[in-house]
Subunit: 201 residues, 2 copies
């Protein structure tokens, strides 16, 4: 089945990556150890050389997701000096993220994620809060530099940005890509922009 023997560090990475891709395309409910094994060119039992259980793979997937969300915000921040443009960059990247596959909602909303693992709720919360926190910081900078209304709660604004993406992502998925996420994001951002920009433009 396998062409070659690989070190466990490399395999762990491969396996988590493969599992995430499978969840993106078919959902957590359909994620089987056998499917993951097939994807990396191993036999099901081979997985257990690198992970103690299926649950441990899920944890590794969460680590991957956290890393990617962090990278998203980081890349958007680097792209421009203007906080409002940075926010728009986060929005655009998040949409691209959704287009690539719905791994995040499929894990966050799946109850299998948390069954028997209450600590995982904390973990997921920490990931989302971390993301929101990073976005909030951009908004705070905007307030300090005078582009964003100073009386607004940065966290609320950050959540509203996510709130632009979430329902759009749902419709996009339900319509098999028929719903125009980008158009919605453009219009919604325009409205949100008016609500948060310091000058009334």
């Amino acid at each position: 089945m396998s062409d070659e023997k690989l070190g466990t560090e490399i395999r762990k990475e491969q396996i988590a990556e493969a599992a995430l891709k499978l969840v993106s395309s078919h959902g957590l409910g359909r994620l089987s150890v056998a499917a993951v094994a097939r994807r990396v060119g191993l036999v099901p039992s081979g997985i257990y050389r690198h992970f103690r259980s299926k649950d441990e793979i899920l944890s590794a997937m969460l680590d991957l997701i956290e890393r990617r969300l962090t990278d998203n915000v980081h890349a958007a921040s680097e792209e421009s000096a203007d906080p409002l443009t940075q926010l728009r960059g986060v929005l655009v990247r998040h949409i691209r993220f959704i287009r690539e596959g719905r791994a995040i909602p499929r894990i966050v909303f799946a109850d299998e994620t948390f069954v028997g693992h209450p600590e995982r709720k904390t973990r997921v919360q920490q990931i989302l809060r971390g993301y929101l926190g990073r976005v909030s910081r951009i908004i705070q900078q905007g307030q300090e530099q005078g582009q964003v209304r100073p009386e607004l709660d940065p966290e609320t604004v950050a959540m509203m940005i996510i709130g632009i993406v979430m329902p759009a992502g749902v419709l996009w998925h339900l319509s098999d890509g028929g719903f125009d996420v980008t158009r919605h994001a453009d219009r919604a951002w325009q409205m949100l922009h008016r609500a948060i920009a310091a000058d009334g433009t």
Copy 2:
């Protein structure tokens, strides 16, 4: 097991209701025919007197959800004559809905819902689009009566209202009720209100 024999129409209602409650509290992944049966006081095989399969129960649950969402908007519309107050009513009710259990996201995001049933995607889409449509109509009325900026796209506004609730619901769930959904909704609504109200108040 069962105290009495009941007509199949009553049982169907009971079973769908029981299934919806189980999904609300434990998620679709944990929904078993046995658990539903236990809840209505039947033996697992007894369910099959009223539904041909587990899938058919899922369809009945979707019907229930649709009815409740419709009722939500209807009740909010009756409550006030002012469209903006009506919108706020929809928001409040939707939050109450979430507090009662996360049945909707747990079904909409679960992939088991759609596996082997592509037509169900259409069904769920129809439910959500129906809900959005009803909310949009309120916004249109607001535009006709001059309370809402006429240049805005009603559907986008409707989705932003849902977008206030969705991420808040996620955090509320992950924090086991620790996140203050109402406070977030208040703040977010205030911002959205400013963005959509015809006068700049």
